[in-house]
């Protein structure tokens, strides 16, 4: 069998970071997240959560929601036991803390990375926070320090490698 271990560079360790001129990309420690479908307003009201934001929407807290579709959002900063998740009063809930890594993209050149990674017009980003980032499905919003990218944890290594390949930032110890 052909061993492809050498072809694929080892996945970076948890907590890996990239630094460049005006750009810092960090993988945050596991961020509590729930996938929520159904009556989003009712869920937000029950959880005292602000209304979900769209792409590049501004969030000012560690508790926020990203709208993914008309009736689907990612609730961030909330947890639910795997066993207790499921259908609750017209709302479907699935934990996503393990599924989605959160990359924080900070620095003055954060938007420079954005225009490399996606074809979306930052002046008209749309009501869904979902996007293709470096060709992969993800969700993105702004926080006071930069951008927060929620992406399939299994693709974190690729996204970091892709960012490094743009030359905007390099791995740092």
């Amino acid at each position: 069998m052909r061993d492809r271990a050498a072809f694929w560079p080892p996945a970076p360790a948890p907590g890996a970071a990239l630094r460049g001129d005006g750009l810092i990309v960090r993988v945050l420690p596991a961020v509590p997240q729930l996938m929520v479908s159904g009556d989003l307003d009712a869920f937000c009201a029950a959880q005292t959560l602000s209304a979900p934001v769209g792409l590049l929407g501004q969030v000012d807290d560690t508790r926020y929601a990203l709208r993914l579709a008309r009736n689907r959002m990612l609730a961030v900063g909330l947890t639910a036991d795997h066993a207790a998740a499921g259908w609750r009063d017209g709302i479907a809930i699935t934990p996503m803390t393990g599924a989605l890594a959160v990359l924080h993209i900070g620095g003055a050149n954060a938007m420079e990375l954005f225009v490399r990674a996606t074809a979306i017009d930052p002046r008209a980003p749309g009501p869904s926070a979902a996007l293709l980032f470096a060709g992969q499905i993800a969700a993105l919003c702004r926080d006071p320090q930069g951008l927060r990218l929620h992406i399939d944890r299994g693709l974190t290594a690729f996204v970091l490698d892709w960012i490094a390949a743009t030359g905007l930032a390099a791995y740092s110890e």
């Binding site: 072809f7 259908w87 479907a92 393990g98 599924a99 490399r116």
Partner: protein, 935 residues
């Protein structure tokens, strides 16, 4: 051609000399030179060889239209094939090699081919190389063909750079009209990107005299540059707009001095095409000799790089644009003779063998010279307009195709719209772009008389310089009825070279028109397609080269797998351990270990799509071949999902977590497909408010413990759940623990042995792996890779969809007919199962196969053959084959015609010219009663 550098003038910085080599010979130049201008100034004459006849060639143009001279460049450790010398700045230390010659352009060893030119007309290879077959000749011809050579030993080029951009308007072409448009639009409040493929903006103002708004063109340009900066216009020089795509996307390739090429994907609201026009050659015999060059280009070299192309110059023309050329060459010290078709004087042929030494006019006059500057008129650069599906019309006064009308989101202005005189071009801007205030220029009107190649013209008159298409080739095409412009292109290769016929297409059409009694517009144009000019692959790939082209997902425990020497492979979009250790013999050893004791397998990619809601059970009853709604919470059931055709799309275990929550555990590689299928049918038939589908595959890592010591391993790993068969029977699931580290334990088996799937939040998996691995080793087992799992499942006759099934396999072919007959509710694919095709008695059915000839494992892909007829007939094939782990013989699975009723029969297999014998048997080779599940 005795070109030389003038002692003063031009943009070059004489205080900054540079040098590089061309075909091994040193070339001197200055900063501000292009490679082409430095080569011209150094006196190099033969700079390239033609594609087919290997004729000596010199520089023709000064931009993207250059058909003759390409060079491979070695720049330190890096190698750049097919550099366009007219667009690249000269650089110190570069090692240039002419692209289509060996060992050099000056002394090409295949130069003799031109002696046989009469035997090598268009399409000669179609007529010549057919005995015994084309492939005998193909390698040698392919070696001779093409431009440039890849040098595998050179350092890889850096990854290309890509960025997206949004703006109101992209202006393509930064000549005076493009600049005026950019200024006007920017002043009206639009965000503007101005693009030009030259090293500076200015276009013709950089080398032609003009007066704009009452000031010299150079002064107007300087003021305009300052205004552009002040207005914040994004100016991209050395950037070629090479394609227009759907939804107004325009692609730009920017050549950068400080890094790799950058691909700009710009989505403007409007594109203003001010791309100018390309000068055409004139048709006379031997018009391809070095020293015959574009008059416009020569004026550029003179004014910009102070290179005088010759001392005795003939200016051959049919239009007014050369008036300034002749005057400028004379002022620079050349002896100039003008041969103007508007005055009835035409060149009949050029003289010389390796460079032009004179011309003979049609009246017999001989004029000695060392350079012929020609202008056959201008062809508007309408490529992007045509790519955007814009229509063209023929302009008889200007002798060019021009845009008939704007297309949505694209406006053409300036010379690209056929306005070849600057004053006329600027004057059209207010109407075209709605700009109230545009500059005013003084310029002479453009005047031209037709001068196209004529049928029967004596000598070898080149139409397409790069692909060596002559007037006689076009005549041959007409004789052979290749009269459609598309046939003409393909038969002669006219316009198919890297220059895409920028200088040649119109002349070819004109000649074909004359030969067939049609006008040029009646002949028509070929289809314009991107790219307008060659684009490096590195630019198109951007950062997605190498391992980033098709990324795999990474397991949470990848570092653990690497630490213990996993051999990793790409499986269904995930990087997974094939086996541990570099030796393939580990595969069987791991399988035996799992059969004897316990194997620990990372099954994290297994699909885990949650279907949630009050209608989830009814929905899954429709989706699944098997009945689902009868499952109790905590139970699991194996089943199929069919496509509408009734073909098995996927299989897997369905888990019911509670009344309203199911987990569809589909194949690892089919997660995206199954997710899409579920969403599609949910949206088609079920209310969104009562069903939600969440792909939670990535949420949990799943570690499978399988083997007789599986239960003991879990206990030893500290999982203190009641694992007794009564409390935790086969095909059930349960939660263990609470909080973020809660485990979901599921008793299902893909090996036939007692097995437990342990699922935990993905980021918490590595410590769990450590505990389970240590416990497994303590029980005499250890980690196993996916290849060992393949052996274990094959021994049990468990299938892998897409491997043991194909695009024809229905569930009945796999021995599962019950739901088709008994299921009460409708389900996906049901109707297709009752078609004649699905009910055929001679369908291929899943069987086991055992070698009956005493040899080793049967080859995968071997076809069973029926030898009863006159020729062998396939009766199916082997889909999986492995050595035995718990068995002392190899096993194989296959899809064989009427297989289910032929157990015990021997069949003949055919594979790669060899025959084998095999006995058909039930697909389950091991423990058919399932006792090992409870061992």
């Amino acid at each position: 051609m005795t070109a030389r550098r003038l002692p003063e003038g031009g943009e070059v910085d004489r205080s900054r000399p540079l040098s590089f080599t061309f075909d091994g010979r040193p070339v001197q130049g200055f900063h501000g030179d292009t490679l082409a201008s430095a080569l011209l100034a150094s006196g190099e004459r033969v700079l390239g060889r033609s594609f087919k006849y290997r004729r000596p060639r010199g520089i023709w143009g000064a931009g993207t239209e250059e058909p003759n001279v390409y060079a491979d460049a070695t720049d330190g450790p890096r190698f750049h094939p097919n550099l366009r010398v007219t667009l690249e700045p000269a650089r110190d230390g570069l090692d240039l090699r002419s692209a289509n010659s060996s060992p050099s352009a000056r002394a090409d060893r295949l130069g003799f081919l031109d002696l046989f030119a009469r035997f090598l007309p268009s399409a000669f290879y179609y007529k010549t190389f057919f005995w015994p077959n084309w492939h005998v000749y193909e390698p040698a011809i392919r070696r001779m063909a093409g431009l440039g050579r890849i040098k595998p030993s050179s350092a890889p080029l850096p990854d290309g750079d890509q960025r997206n951009h949004h703006c109101d308007t992209v202006v393509v072409g930064a000549g005076p009209v493009g600049i005026a448009a950019a200024l006007g639009l920017s002043r009206s409040g639009e965000s503007v990107v101005l693009v030009d493929d030259g090293s500076r903006i200015g276009g013709s103002l950089l080398f032609r005299s003009a007066r704009i708004d009452g000031m010299p063109g150079a002064n107007w340009l300087a003021a305009a540059e300052a205004d552009l900066r002040q207005l914040g216009v994004t100016v991209l020089t050395r950037t070629t707009a090479f394609g227009i795509y759907d939804h107004g996307l325009i692609a730009l390739n920017q050549r950068r001095d400080d890094g790799p090429d950058r691909l700009w994907r710009v989505r403007p609201r409007r594109i203003v095409l001010a791309a100018g026009a390309v000068e055409r050659p004139l048709p006379f015999a031997a018009n391809d000799l070095p020293g015959v060059m574009s008059a416009e280009a020569a004026l550029g070299y003179l004014r910009r790089q102070a290179v005088l192309p010759g001392l005795r110059i003939v200016v051959a023309t049919n239009n007014s644009s050369t008036d300034e050329v002749a005057a400028a060459m004379t002022a620079a010290g050349a002896e100039v003779t003008v041969v103007d078709a508007r005055q009835g004087r035409r060149v009949a042929r050029a003289l010389g063998r390796r460079m032009v030494t004179g011309v003979v006019l049609e009246d017999g006059t001989r004029i000695p010279c060392d350079c012929v500057l020609v202008s056959g008129g201008f062809t508007a650069t309408v490529h992007l307009h045509a790519q955007a599906k814009g229509r063209l019309r023929w302009d008889d006064a200007r002798l060019s195709f021009v845009p008939e009308a704007p297309v949505a989101g694209l406006v053409t202005v300036g010379a690209a719209a056929g306005h070849f005189a600057l004053a006329e071009a600027l004057a059209a801007l207010p109407e075209t772009l709605g700009l109230p205030d545009v500059p005013v220029a003084d310029s002479a009107p453009y005047d031209i008389t037709p001068l196209w190649p004529r049928p029967g013209q004596p000598g070898r008159v080149w139409i397409d310089l790069q692909h060596d298409v002559t007037a006689k080739d076009v005549e041959l095409a007409a004789r052979e009825n290749m009269v459609s412009v598309e046939h003409l292109k393909r038969y002669t290769t006219l316009g198919m070279a890297t220059d895409q016929g920028k200088t040649s297409n119109l002349a070819g059409m004109a000649l074909m028109g004359a030969l067939t009694g049609r006008s040029i517009p009646e002949v028509g144009t070929t289809t314009y397609r991107p790219p307008f000019a060659p684009v490096p692959y590195t630019s198109l790939a951007g950062p997605r080269g190498g391992s980033r082209m098709n990324p795999v997902r990474r397991l949470a425990c990848e570092a653990r797998h690497r630490e213990i020497g996993a051999s990793l492979g790409d499986y269904g979009g995930w990087l997974r351990p094939a086996h541990y250790g570099s030796d393939d013999s580990a595969i069987l050893a791991e399988a035996k270990l799992a059969r004897a004791a316990v194997g620990l397998f990372d099954a994290s990619p297994l699909g885990k799509i949650e279907v949630i809601g009050p209608d989830a059970a009814a929905f899954l009853d429709f989706i699944h071949y098997n009945t689902v709604s009868t499952l109790k919470p905590g139970q699991c059931r194996y089943g199929f999902i069919l496509a509408e055709s009734g073909v098995v799309y996927d299989d897997g275990v369905l888990v019911r977590l509670d009344d309203h929550r199911f987990v569809v555990s589909c194949s690892s590689a089919h997660v995206a497909g199954v997710h899409g299928l579920l969403e599609e049918w949910r949206q088609d038939r079920f209310p969104a408010a009562r069903i939600a589908i969440h792909d939670a595959t990535a949420e949990t890592a799943t570690l499978t413990v399988s083997g007789p010591k599986a239960r003991a391993t879990l206990a030893a790993a500290g999982i203190d759940a009641d694992l007794s068969d009564t409390a935790f029977p086969h095909m059930t699931t349960r939660w263990h623990g609470s909080g973020e580290a809660a485990l979901r334990l599921t008793r299902v088996s893909f090996t036939g042995d007692r097995s437990y799937e342990v699922s935990v939040r993905q980021d918490l998996a590595p410590p769990l792996w450590d505990r389970l691995a240590a416990a497994a080793r303590a029980e005499g087992g250890g980690p196993i890779g996916i290849e060992a799992l393949m052996i274990l499942r094959a021994e049990k006759g468990f299938i892998v969809i897409g491997k043991d099934t194909d695009g024809m396999t229905r569930p009945m072919d796999l021995g599962v007919s019950g739901p088709m007959k008994a299921k009460k509710v409708d389900f996906l694919g049901r109707r297709s199962l009752f078609t004649d095709e699905a009910q055929r008695a001679d369908r291929n059915q899943l069987v086991g196969l055992l070698p009956a000839d005493g040899f080793g494992p049967l080859p995968v892909g071997a076809h069973g053959i029926d030898l009863s007829g006159t020729t062998p007939r396939s009766i199916g094939y082997i889909t999986s084959s492995h050595p035995g782990a718990a068995l002392d013989h190899p096993v194989a699975l296959g899809l064989i015609e009427r297989g289910a009723e032929r157990h015990g029969q021997e069949i003949t297999l055919h594979h790669l010219g060899q025959r084998r014998r095999a006995t058909l048997c039930p697909p389950c080779f091991l423990d058919p009663k399932g006792e090992r599940l409870h061992a």
